[in-house]
Symmetry: C2
Subunit: 199 residues, 2 copies
């Protein structure tokens, strides 16, 4: 017996398909589930299936939701003239939690990554263009992550959206609040200097 | 909407019950499952349930198994006079993989930890004593992990097993093969010096 029983091996290999979970972590998780209360394991299995069966993507903004359109798109009190473009639903939550934005969103469901073969066709860019062409949108705020792929995506979007008569902006990049010049990387410092504001 | 839909929140909170998974990791895993192929999510849910429904613990050594007794206890070619005591099934696999041991095992299913309220009654110590009292066991090798709780467990076991007429040993502690004196911690160096062998 140089390996676990096939039932455990199957669970380990399924867990290893999840991001950031390697062999050792998968083994630990599998044995935790094995030792845990059966109710806990069943609740987890059910939660996984529920997410797959009950969560859909909003047909307008492509955020994860149980209703279509989602609560944000359906809310008449939000500003329907501004769209904030983000990579995934986690980013929507991050902005919503800050409570500083009252417009709509557009979830790309990924970022351009030529190295990993993610092309514009894989993202919800067509759908974004369609939303802008038809309606009363005045501004598009591109809030992809400030890293190589996120910047590439922002650059691509700014090019394809330029012909449309909307204001296009990118979220501000620079030193985070509470951050320290000393510990900030060079790329961030460069962006902070470029983005300086006159007082 | 300052949080995800309840279905997603349920999955996140179930994932957070797993060891080493915090809120951020749980969110990432949940959204990975949400985006993944439905078959992958279903396979994971099924694997979790299968482990709970089909894996039992061997009534002799308490290793995880599909059959009782397990393949190791039932193997007549193994040495039934030696028992190696380990904390959990992952340790059994580690020793089996090395292919250097042909005796039996006894899985404690944990380690003593006064701080976390794990007492001797929570471990399979009673069952170990019963195995030693009845049968032809000549040696018990204590292979709990060499850390605070593992050492406490080893010390406790050596005390309670002493009255029984079996040889009790502890796996060797010292510098690992390929290790470097320079990078080894003081505790390990101390154990290595104490465990020195005359040439």
């Amino acid at each position: 017996m140089h390996s676990f029983s096939p039932v455990i091996e199957t669970l380990i290999s399924e867990l290893m398909k999840l991001p950031t979970i390697g062999r050792k972590s998968a083994e630990r998780l599998a044995f935790h589930l094995l030792k845990s209360n059966p109710k806990q394991a069943e609740a987890l299995a059910k939660a996984i299936l529920d997410v797959k069966h009950r969560i859909i993507f909003c047909s307008q903004c492509f955020n994860a939701t149980e209703t279509d359109p989602c609560a944000i798109c359906a809310n008449p009190e939000r500003d329907h003239t501004v769209i904030c473009v983000v990579e995934d639903p986690l980013n929507v939550l991050a902005i919503e939690k800050a409570g500083i934005y009252n417009g709509l969103y557009h979830v790309l469901q990924g970022r351009l990554s030529p190295l990993r073969g993610v092309t514009p066709e894989d993202l919800r860019i067509k759908e974004l263009i369609a939303r802008l062409s038809g309606a009363q949108i005045k501004e598009v705020i591109i809030a992809t992550n400030p890293d190589l792929d996120g910047d590439t995506t922002a650059l691509y979007l700014s090019k394809v959206l330029k012909p449309l008569s909307v204001t296009i902006s990118r979220i501000g990049l620079g030193i985070p609040m509470g951050g320290s010049l000393e510990y900030v990387d060079e790329g961030t410092l460069k962006k902070a200097l470029e983005g300086r504001k006159q007082l």
